[in-house]
């Protein structure tokens, strides 16, 4: 899928798939997968913002986690030294939890690295 124009369906799941693709390529940095992961994760964040009612700890926590996911992806994409792969793996877990909480389906093992 090309994330070039407009919002797409399930950007969170798409981000998860792109993170898995990037993790599968490790230790090499797959710039394309990381770019796509960033774009989808940002769209997912936009969805959270759009759906937010403006108050509530959970909403804020979810948004903070979404931002952390974006930070982890960009940290691997543009590292200062060695790429922080464990942080990206951790970020994948946060994203999965966010998706689980919002009712999105778990990405199947078969899809990983696709």
């Amino acid at each position: 899928m090309s994330p070039t124009q407009g919002p797409r369906e399930d950007p969170g799941r798409q981000a998860l798939a792109c993170i898995d693709k990037a993790l599968a390529a490790k230790p090499q940095r797959d710039g394309h997968a990381l770019t796509e992961a960033t774009k989808f994760a940002c769209e997912f964040r936009d969805e959270l913002i759009a759906a937010a009612s403006g108050d509530g700890d959970e909403e804020r926590r979810n948004l903070e986690h979404a931002n952390a996911v974006i930070s982890a992806i960009t940290a691997v994409h543009f590292p200062l030294g060695p790429a922080p792969w464990p942080e990206l793996e951790g970020a994948r877990g946060w994203l999965q939890k966010l998706l689980d909480a919002s009712g999105a389906d778990e990405v199947s093992g078969r899809d990983r690295g696709a």
């Binding site: 770019t35 940002c42 936009d46 960009t74 691997v76």
Partner: protein, 843 residues
């Protein structure tokens, strides 16, 4: 070195700069050096007004500076022209390197420690044998090595003063540059051997006890994928010749207009805190204050004082909220997670990461590389604030951007909300600028800015106040840094302009108990008793009512002094850094002609024409007592001038700190029409930051679609990013339109006429400009093949009276591994006569 020290030079090499045109005020000191008999050398692809004044002009192909400088290093070593008494005593030439070290000459073009997946180096094999060597640079921890800096306090690094040890730096250096023969220099750079040798001999003849020389450079060196290594190569030349820390000697960075030096001292850079302290990095050893101080504090040398500067900074920022029991509010300082410099953040912006942006003192629609990606990124922002004193292309991208002009988008489709705020001009605000000579100079507010125009200080101060008010009632931990920020500056006038002097006083530092100014950074402590906004500036405001940046006492003509009463030069008003090297190891001047600092045995103190950059009363014969595991300056001998290095010796071989190798090595630029003849497997710097993505592709080596070398430059008549001059008729008419300089040979080959239209293209885009057919540009012969180069000023845009397409459309987003600075001086392009087809803007 100071600008006014240039006339003391017996040679001045201007390289990576068109100094006469782009630093005309500074260039008068070069002219004075020549008037006094100094030789002026200009090494540059173009024949410019600097070349016209120079005694020797050496043309080199853009991006081959290390081949040229490496040739000088080889020539100096092979012909035994180096200043032995200086270099052997003051550099690490005799230090022995770890036995695991492998040179590029032995490892197919990479140094040991290279990780091809990460495209980065570990530095453990570059260390002095048995040591871990912290770097004087921020982020001192050498990648891949342990943090046992204590090893430097246990004994000096192993050395072989006979220089026979195969792993001593001298022998490594000789082997590394053995292939940089005059023939190789000519074949790679295009500079005729005779010219190269004439320059090498000029440098050697004008160095030694009685003679010195210097290099001046600007962004013609830094804007490469090997920018830092080019500067290092010149530094090696100067250290071998004994030209650092002495009158007329040095490597002078020609900083930009107006306060670029100040903007790195108190940085707008993402990876440094004021005074070249490291910005904490989350994924490294900076998780808490204890580990931050451990990895950033050198055991030996001046940087052992690091905790005093870091904790005093935290006290200045967070005031009462910074206390011993909360690690001086260390956790309130943001931690880096990655490279958030301009280049990768431009890409991140285009990916949607960034929601809003402030643009102060910058016009990236003209000045940033890969203009289309910049514009794409800005169109993804929700809001953009631009502060300037005239409308800029950046603030107008929504209606006048390249993508709009090309019909790729419409203003109504861009949702970015843009706020343009008028900014005060220099005379309309008070404050300081810091120039090339590290000279902090005060300027007064002389008239009120018109209308709603305000100073940047006003804007930042009042923005901070409003943010603090907005978050005042928050109970969230993440908002604590805003609440805790010490932000109480006195204001004056109806506009509530904050006092710039109060800010400078805070930068200088004070005692927290009674808020008395500290005399200088030697008074700073790590126990919370002092606060200091930038330790290197400490001393600029040493007591109430004494603003040394205002001082204007010049020396009389003929005085052999340092103009120490003219403003304030950091650190401690020293005009020449490492000036202990101006005396021999025994403390005597190298010669009467080159006197600067010397040891007064009677007074038991260093004295001379400048503030000594050394412990004032440390005798030349002082030696560390290694039985006592000396730390800090106690580990620095009296004959070791380079006090920021852990053993006081200048690093010819960089055991730590440089991310792409301990020695400069020739690689081709990120794009090149020719192959790297030195290393078949590594065309470009293997550690360069390359971020391929659609719209940011690089041309393959020798791609016939982009056969010419492309470089960019500035113009005297068009200042900074162009807007200040292009909107003013008097200056705009001096350079009324964008142009590309091409040689008569290439023009004839392609059928391009002088002043005729041309289209320039790269994988990133294409632009059209008129041709300036000129002998300023000449083709090069590279390995027997003719290579053409074209050059274009990058300062044009669509606004103002003098207009043209931005050259930076053609450039790619790439980065030097150390600085993340882009490559603007050497990429490839095509050029053809005619005009490009532009789609009509959508109705």
């Amino acid at each position: 070195m100071a600008l006014w020290d240039l006339p003391n030079a017996d040679y001045v090499v201007v390289m990576g700069s068109n100094m006469a045109e782009n630093h005309p005020v500074a260039f008068r000191f070069v002219v004075e050096a020549q008037r006094r008999g100094g030789k002026i050398i200009h090494v540059d692809p173009r024949f410019t007004r600097t070349s016209a004044i120079a005694d020797i002009h050496a043309p080199i192909r853009s991006g081959t500076d290390i081949a040229f400088l490496g040739g000088l290093i080889r020539h100096i070593l092979e012909n035994d022209l180096w200043f032995r008494d200086y270099a052997l005593a003051y550099t690490n030439l005799d230090h022995i390197i770890d036995e695991r070290y492998l040179d590029t000459e032995d490892a197919d073009g990479v140094f040991s420690g290279y990780d091809p997946d990460a495209k980065s180096y570990k530095q453990d094999t570059w260390q002095y044998e048995g040591k871990t060597t912290p770097t004087p640079l921020a982020n001192r921890h050498p990648a891949g090595a342990d943090t046992d800096y204590e090893s430097m306090a246990q004994s000096p690094p192993p050395r072989d003063p006979t220089l026979q040890h195969p792993r001593c730096v001298y022998q490594i250096l000789k082997r590394h540059y053995a292939r940089y023969t005059p023939e190789m220099v000519e074949a790679t750079t295009g500079c005729p051997q005779e010219t190269f040798l004439q320059i090498a001999d000029t440098l050697a003849k004008n160095s030694g006890r009685d003679r010195t020389g210097c290099f001046c450079y600007a962004v013609g060196w830094t804007h490469h994928s090997v920018g830092v290594q080019i500067i290092r190569a010149a530094t090696i030349v100067q250290l071998l010749l004994g030209n650092v820390g002495r009158p007329g000697g040095g490597v002078l960075a020609l900083r930009g207009h107006v306060s670029i030096q100040g903007s790195t001292d108190i940085p707008t850079l993402y990876n440094m805190l004021p005074g070249y302290l490291a910005q904490p990095v989350l994924h490294e050893d900076h998780a808490d204050l204890k580990s931050y101080l451990k990895t950033e504090t050198a055991a030996t040398g001046w940087w052992a004082n690091f905790p005093k500067y870091a904790i005093s900074l935290l006290k200045a920022w967070y005031g009462e909220a910074a206390a011993a029991d909360n690690d001086w509010a260390y956790q309130m300082v943001p931690k880096l997670t990655g490279d958030v410099s301009q280049e990768p953040m431009t890409l991140a912006m285009a990916n949607g990461v960034i929601k809003g942006q402030f643009m102060l003192g910058q016009n990236p629609m003209v000045g940033a590389v890969n203009t289309e990606l910049v514009e794409l990124g800005m169109a993804k922002l929700e809001w953009l604030v631009v502060r300037d004193f005239a409308m800029t292309e950046t603030a107008e991208f929504w209606r006048n951007g390249r993508r709009v002009r090309n019909g790729e988008t419409r203003p109504e489709d861009i949702e970015t909300e843009i706020f343009f705020l008028p900014a005060a001009m220099p005379g309309e605000k008070e404050g300081t600028v810091t120039n090339t000579s590290r000279l902090v100079q005060w300027h007064d507010h002389v008239l009120e800015a018109p209308g709603d125009s305000r100073s940047d200080t006003w804007f930042i101060f009042h923005l901070g106040k409003r943010l603090k008010a907005l978050y005042a009632d928050s109970t969230l931990e993440r908002d604590r840094p805003i609440q805790a920020l010490a932000w109480d500056y006195p204001v004056k006038g109806e506009r509530e302009e904050p006092s710039a002097e109060a800010i400078l006083k805070e930068i200088n530092g004070y005692t927290t108990a009674d808020r008395k100014q500290v005399a200088d950074f030697k008074a700073l402590e790590d126990d919370g008793s002092t606060a200091c906004g930038c330790w290197i500036y400490s001393g600029v405001f040493p007591e109430e009512g004494k603003n040394l940046a205002r001082s204007r006492r010049p020396d009389k003509p003929g005085d052999n002094t340092s103009h120490s009463g003219w403003a304030f030069a950091w650190p401690s008003n020293r005009r020449t850094l490492y000036n202990r090297a101006s005396a021999d190891p025994d403390g005597k001047p190298w010669s009467e002609r080159k006197k600067m600092i010397w040891w007064d045995a009677e007074k038991k103190a260093w004295t001379g024409y400048d503030t000594p950059d050394f412990d004032k009363d440390k005798a030349p014969e002082f030696r560390p007592d290694w039985s006592k595991t000396p730390h800090g300056m106690d580990a620095i001998a009296g004959d070791s001038p380079f006090i920021m290095e852990p053993d006081g010796k200048a690093m010819i071989f960089a055991a730590s700190g440089i991310k792409d190798g301990p020695l400069p090595t020739h690689y081709e630029p990120v794009e090149s029409p020719v192959r790297n003849e030195l290393y078949e497997k590594h065309q470009m710097n293997p550690a360069a930051k390359i971020w391929p993505r659609p719209g940011n592709e690089l041309a393959e080596t020798g791609d016939p679609r982009y056969p010419y070398v492309f470089t960019t430059f500035r113009l005297t008549e068009i200042h900074c990013g162009g807007i200040p001059s292009r909107i003013t008729p008097h200056t705009a008419e001096l350079q009324p339109e964008a142009f590309v300089e091409i040689s008569p040979e290439l023009a004839a080959e392609l059928g391009i006429e002088h002043l005729g239209w041309t289209v320039l293209s790269s994988p990133r885009g294409e632009i059209e400009v008129r041709a300036m057919v000129t002998e300023r540009m000449r083709p090069f012969t590279i390995n027997g093949r003719k290579v053409h180069q074209v050059g274009m000023p990058w300062v044009y845009g669509p606004l103002g009276y003098a207009t043209g397409e931005p050259a930076n459309v053609l450039l790619a987003i790439t980065g030097d591994p150390n600085t993340s600075i882009h490559s603007t001086k050497a990429v490839t392009c095509n050029i053809r006569p005619g005009r490009r087809g532009i789609r009509k803007a959508a109705e």
